[in-house]
Amino acid sequence: MSAREELIKTVVIEFAGEDAIEVLVHLKEGEETTDEVIATETGMRLNSVRKILYKLYDLHLASYRRTRDKNTGWFVYYWILEPTRIHGLLRERKLKVLERLQQRLVYESENTFYYCQNNGCQRHTFEEAMSNTFKCPICAGHLDHDDNTEIIRILREQIELLKADIESG
């Protein structure tokens, strides 16, 4: 199995589940196949095969061509694997993750936090803590200042790594 095939397999398992691998291995690059053929070859239900194919389509890893069967009048879908799109998919995901981590960094940098020593309770911003007179709204415990310097450092570090990775293509 090539490096790209391994990567696609990992990503497909994560996003479409283990069952999707059965369908994936029956899809070929540059060679069309139908959902019915895959269902016959895998022994899977046609509906399950179709669901997986649409998940792969949503991930841009598969595409289809549709024609109408002259005899039945039904549409026939010819599916094909698009393995080269894996890099676009991963790049897109990296950009989304980068945006979320940057949002979290701004939130951490622009707020002061207070926490309750009871493990199950939430962290609160200064405004929230003040409005509750520095008492935990869940357990009424005392709220202490939470030093988030390390969280900010970790977020900055991860953001820089991710940015460098995106820029290196």
Binding site: S2, A3, R4, E6, L7, R100, E150, D165
Partner: protein, 113 residues
């Protein structure tokens, strides 16, 4: 020899190298170089394009980049595999400010075991 071939092909960039140029640079037999190229091609690192050189048909080799079989999720950051990422963000039902999975990941980074 493979690492030297990779370095030369990388250096050549998108213009690539003629097979004959690579053989000359590596100072190895054509068959040895061809074996290395075949291996790199199989792994998807190098692509071959037909070219003309001094009126003769020849092969140009272009480095496509070493693909990793690993999905880099940056120390397991949960956002990479999160199925709710499209609904996550400022003003959305889920935000990176309060996300439990992200909090756990940050906590693990703070206190690595």
């Amino acid at each position: 020899m493979e690492s030297r071939a990779i370095a030369l092909l990388k250096e050549a960039g998108s213009k690539g190298l003629l097979l004959s140029e690579l053989i000359q640079e590596l100072e190895k037999s054509a068959s040895n170089v061809q074996n290395v190229i075949e291996s790199l091609k199989r792994q998807g690192y190098v692509k071959e394009v037909e070219d003309q050189h001094n009126g003769a048909s020849t092969t140009r080799l272009i480095w496509q980049g070493r693909e990793s079989s690993k999905w880099n999720t940056f120390n397991g950051c949960p956002c990479f595999s999160c199925k709710e990422i499209e609904q996550c963000g400022e003003g959305q039902p889920i935000t990176p400010w309060y996300c439990g999975k992200l909090n756990v990941w940050l906590a693990e980074r703070l206190n690595p075991t």
